[in-house]
Every structure is written in structure tokens, then in C-alpha cells.
Amino acid sequence: MANQKSSVGIRGMEIKTLPKHDQSHISYREINEDILRFMTQTGPGYYIVLGALFLLTILLYALPWAYQIYTGQGVTGLNVPVFWGVYLVNFVFWVGVAHAGTLISAMLYITETPWRRAIARGAETMTLFALVIVTFFVFIHMGRPWNFYWSFPYPNTRQLWTSFQSPLMFDVFAIGTYFTSSVIFLYFGMIPDLASLRQSSTGWRKSLYRVMSLGWRGTDRQWHMHGKACMFFSSFIMPLVVSVHSIVSWDFALSVVPGYSKTVFAPYFVTGALLSGFAGVLLMLTVIRWFFPIMKKYVTAYHFDRIGIIILVLSLTWSYCTLMEVVTGLYANTSQELEHLKFKLLTPPYSYLFVLMIFSNTLVPLSLMIRKIRSCEIGMFFICIFVLIGMWLERYLIVPNSLSRKFLPWMWHDYFPSWVEVSITVGAVCFFIFMFMAFIKIFPVVSLFEVKEDAGIPMKKGH
């Protein structure tokens, strides 16, 4: 078994080693059949959940948004100093969730880490749909979303272009590039799998895979080019991942607002993004393993162990950055910074939120030092939930909270999200799960050829 524990003795002491990552017991045909069965054999429960999610998306997401477009941004809780509310929080949060996908694919591809292979596709899929949610949140956030195309640079009848000095324009480019690259990377990796699945599937699937595999034959030349191109994609996407969330952080850091204007923001946001991203990926893997036991063969305790360590490291880095944010604010010792920190750290309910954030992002992940918790599915599930909530709170404590205490005390005003904002926030989660669930039944969520590589290339004479 993959998660079997062997014992090695050193100086007479018995120490436990890590769970092994060894997939050589799986045969190629078995992989194909498993994935196809995973996609085709769908019980009624799945459709009920999918339908319920669709209904929830309409009720909690589409309808409130339509109401907001029809009535105006006034239905939100935004007010005069606090112009950026929960929508921006969600925007930053979902960009963060999108981050781990490409990082797992790209960085671990370049470093040739074997355990990435089984989970990379799922993580990339998460990236893609998180970016869809991000894009929608940009439009939800806008006052006049029907004019969104004005923020794209294209020759038009107005002879007017866009302002490339604006941090929001950096966002348009960063997220546009990220979205395009993610789609390309996801689809590019899927081409050989679709060609492989096409041989054993039937009906509409066969014709869909036939068209989408673009006539991939699996010749050596094609594999050679595939590997080369994949290497270049990975090397492009790795700096992209870092740049995207830095740019998102510059939306805030390039202003002069106390609480926003911090030099630590770019690494702070990137670390936070990766933390929430890995938590998201792990949560997704846990849920998939629960509902589709067939996946236990591919996503093993080894993955949990590895991602657990990564989350631990990221959590510690994040904690350091949080400390730095507070310390630099205190060290600056300007009245505005102190007022902002007083509001953030000492004023209830925000002080409670801050404590909850520290608890769930620093203290809870510390338990990952224990190996038993790292290999415990339920424990990891709850840690991920805590980390995600904590990361959302972090953005909440930065985005609307800083705006509540700007420079002129006369204009200080608190912010509380309205029911429309809460509903759209919850609806976005439903929308995300809905898209993800629909996707994994149409396209292979486990990369076939990479898992086959993981299982080893069959050699008669041995390795």
C-alpha cells in the first residue's frame, strides 16, 4: 500500500519513516478504466447535488447580482470612506485560491517532483474556475458593469485608450494573462489524455474528445515537443504566479491610505495566496476522496503529508509577514498608522476577527508539525477550512477595515456588508463548486499520462 509505514532502525531505535510514494502497482489499463469509470458512472446523488448547487447559484448569486445591477451599488453596505468592501475581499481571496494550482503544476514540474502528477490537473482546474469567479467579482464590484470593455485597450471610435499607470490596469493585464495561460496550460496538458480516453469512451464523449484532442497520435515527435513546450510553459507561469498577486497587492500598496501603503504587501499577499491556495487544493482532494473512493488509489496519504508540510511553512512565513505589517506600522509611529492599528487590533469586533485570524492561520496550522495529523484526513479537512476562513478574514481586515479610518476623522465610518454582498459571497462558492463538479465529469481530473509515468514505464529487463 502507498501509505504503509516501514520501520528502520538506527542505533537500536525504531523510527517511523514517511509514507511512501509508490504507484508501480497500478497498470496502465487500470488507470484508463478508473478515470473513465470516475467520469461516467454517476449516481443520482451527484445529480441532486449538482442541481441543488445550480439552484443555489441562481438564487444566491445571479438574482442578487441582477437586483444590484438594476437598483445600483446602493444595495451594498458601502458608504463614503469605505468604497471597497466584501467584493474586493472576495476578489483578492479567489485570486489567492487560484494560485496554488499553477504553482503545483509549474514549480513542481520544473523541480520534477513526482507526487505532483496525480493532483496537478485538479489544482489547475481549481485555478481556472477560481479565476472565473475572480473575473465575475470584478464585474460585480463595478458601478457600471455594462461598460466593462472600456478598461481593455483596443482601438475604438472614441480614440481613447486606457491608463497604463493605473494599478487596476496592471490587474487587467495580470489576470488576463493568468487566465489565458491557465487555460492554455490546462488544455495543453489534457490533449494526450483526451486522445487516450477517446479510444475507450463512447457516444458524445467520443466525438467531443476526438475534436478536442486535435488528432493527437502519441508519436515520439509529438511527445518530444509536448515535453519541451511544457517546460517553457512552466518557466513562464512560475514568475507569473508571483507577479499576479504582487500586482493585486499593489492595488492597495500604491495608494497613500494608512493600512494600505505598506512595502511588505507584495510578499505578504503572495504568501497568503499560496497558503489559501494550498488549503483549497487539499480541501478539494479530501472531498474528492470522500465522495469518489476510487481516487484514494491516486491521491494518497503521501500527498497529504507533503502538502501539509508546505502549508506549515507557508503559514509560518505568513505569520512573519503579519508581524512585520504591525511592527512597521508601529515603528512608523505616524498618527494615521497608529489610529489604523488601534482600530484593527483593539476595537471590537475587529479585534476578535484579528484574534480569530491569528488563531486559524498561525496556531491551527502549527498542529501540522505532528505527523499523525498530517496523515489524518478529517484533521486536514478542518485545518484547511480554518486556513481558508482565516485568509478571508485577513483580506477583510485589510480591505474595508483600513478605509474606515482614513485621514480626516470627520469622515470616519464603519462598514458592514449588506445581505446582497453576503449572498453573492456565498453564491460564488456554490458557483465555483458547481462549475468544478460539472467539469470533473466531462474532462479527466487526473492527468492520465502523468499518472502512468508515475506508475513507471514497463520494462522487461527491469529498471
Binding site: N156, T157, R158, Q159, L160
Partner: protein, 168 residues
Amino acid sequence: MKKLIVYALTGVISLAIGYWVQQQFFSDRAPVQPINFSHKIHAGVNKIPCQYCHIYAERSRVSGVPNVQRCMGCHKIIKTDSPEIQKVTAYWEKKEPIPWTKVHNLPDYVYFPHKRHVRAGVECTNCHGDVPNMDRITKVSSLQMGWCLTCHTQRNVKNGRDCWTCHK
């Protein structure tokens, strides 16, 4: 295959007819006016200057639609038996303005003073097209921002590309 071509042809022809009908009767480029007034007869054949009727063009933001009195000033005597003129007379007797349809319409957020353009020596035909040869007024220029800007750039207008020169 033959069927497909027939369908496509029918579609194209009906689209063309629809486009023509739309342009002719429903378009805001050339709307049907309550009175079949011809600029060709007035400005073209009889060579009445534009500002004889559109009197505000030189001194105000709007060029002004002439009131019925100005029409009647001539048409008490000229061509009183024409059915179109009798319509004008009817409005005059009812003491009602003629409900002309505005052709060159700009949105609320555009600040366009006729005065500045007339005084700068821009010909009326520059924007309104060859009105002396139009029976029914048609919008020739697009009146879009890029179109305005092209002219402003060509004529090197001072602050001609500043947003608040034309927007309000």
C-alpha cells in the same frame, strides 16, 4: 445543398429589404418629419442662407429650430395652395409649434456650442452634410467622439483634446 442556398438567399434578400425599410422609415438617421419640408427647395434652389432660419447658431449653444412665425413670414404669400404649406398654416392657426423630430441629437453629457464652431469658421455642411441638396434631412456624420476629435486635431484647436472642452 440546394435547399441551403435557397434559404441563405432568402435570408440575405429579406435582410436587405429589412435594412432598406429600416433606413427609409424607422431610422433616426433620416426620420420622417411631420411636414415634408425640403431643404433642397429652400437652401438649394432658393439659396436662403442657413442662419436666416437657424438664427441662434452664431450667438448661442444651439442653432435653433425656426418658429412657425418665421415660416409664415413667407408662406402667407408664397405657395399657399400646397397641401404641405396648409399643414403649416394649420399649426399657425392652432398656435402650436410644429413637432419636428431632432436629427442631430447629442447626449446630455456633451457640451456642443454652435457659436464657437460658427465663429471659428466651420461650414455648416462640414458636419451636417450637403443639406442644400437634401430633400429630407439625413444624419451624415456619425457624431461620435472620434469623429469630433479628428477634426479638432486637424484644425489644431486649442485644448481641443481636453475632455472637459466637450463634456460636462
